[in-house]
Subunit: 196 residues, 2 copies
């Protein structure tokens, strides 16, 4: 194989996912991944800090898209709507890579340390969305609560989108999750009963 | 110091928190913690698997209380209300230990691997609340969405409760977060604008 690798990064990601699925995350070494991708270990480390980070490469780009969409939502847009628009914008490019996203989710579900990293990235997304709402002039606690709601809709919608029989786009799944969350929280409270 | 230690567990937890605050989590060894608590390392390992787990000792008990309260909520109680009752019940005993909870939160905030563990415990709480709602006959996606909303209210209310100037109980903070989340999600949608 020649030394010129036009898409070493993408091949490293795919090779890592395949190997995590075949032999498990713990059992897979950077050397294994590099070999499968046809590159050197040194090339691996030019692209990724460690074998965990291969899976979380897109997080900062996703966060950047979400923040941008929250900031450009019309001034009249209520906070939950603005976050919803942010999550939809963040999700849009993922619709191109559903199969990859399924493999990735399966790899993460199989390993606690990967789940932890995924949750930390989602917490960072929540914090970034909160900060973007602050920039829009949304006060506390509305900004934090709206960001939590939006990221919850993202998480739940993402789960639907990677299901075996799913056909809707990720954006549609997130929209639907947010709409159903709204319907659910608008059910009348029966506080006395719940406090029993 | 005698060999009989009536509250070795509690002293180990407090010693760990003090040391994490004073010298950082990474720099603190199990030997340091045991010495500060006046016990042997062996005693430490009788109580905790590692120095991370010292901080997450109460998670399964909190989860158990939440699940129990969700299951005993009146049949007429809507899903979000049932989860709210669960979070309030889970939170109640923490009101006795606000100072400890503040130290703990500060220690966790200072270290990514501790934040990750905390997020994983909250994800487990969400999953347990979802399962309890299923047991109540709540279908999907209502169960997952209601659990996400309830745990979001728990997280946000917890943040208020450990603030320097906070005086409300944790239960009241969670209730208030849930009420404000409801108000926020019931703001009329302006979908066309948000989709711009």
């Amino acid at each position: 194989m020649g030394r010129w690798q036009p898409d070493a990064r993408g091949r490293l990601q795919l090779a890592a996912l395949e190997l995590y699925g075949e032999q498990g995350f713990e059992q897979t070494t950077v050397a294994d991944i590099a070999e499968r991708a046809g590159v050197t270990e040194r090339t691996f480390f030019r692209h990724f800090a460690d074998k965990r980070e291969v899976l979380f490469d897109g997080a900062s780009e996703l966060e950047r898209r979400a923040v941008e969409a929250i900031l450009v939502a019309p001034p009249s847009c209520p906070p939950v709507e603005a976050v919803g628009a942010g999550m939809a914008a963040a999700a849009a490019p993922l619709d191109e890579v559903r199969d990859y996203s399924r493999l990735r989710a399966a790899a993460i579900a199989g390993h606690a340390s990967l789940q932890e990293r995924e949750l930390l990235k989602l917490a960072a997304l929540t914090a970034a969305a909160t900060a973007a709402l602050h920039e829009r002039g949304v006060p506390e606690p509305a900004a934090t609560l709206a960001a939590e709601v939006g990221v919850a809709a993202f998480k739940v919608g993402f789960g639907w989108w990677i299901a075996d029989d799913a056909t809707d786009t990720l954006t549609a799944c997130i929209r639907s999750a947010l709409d159903q969350l709204r319907a659910l929280t608008s059910q009348p409270a029966t506080r006395a009963a719940a406090d029993r």
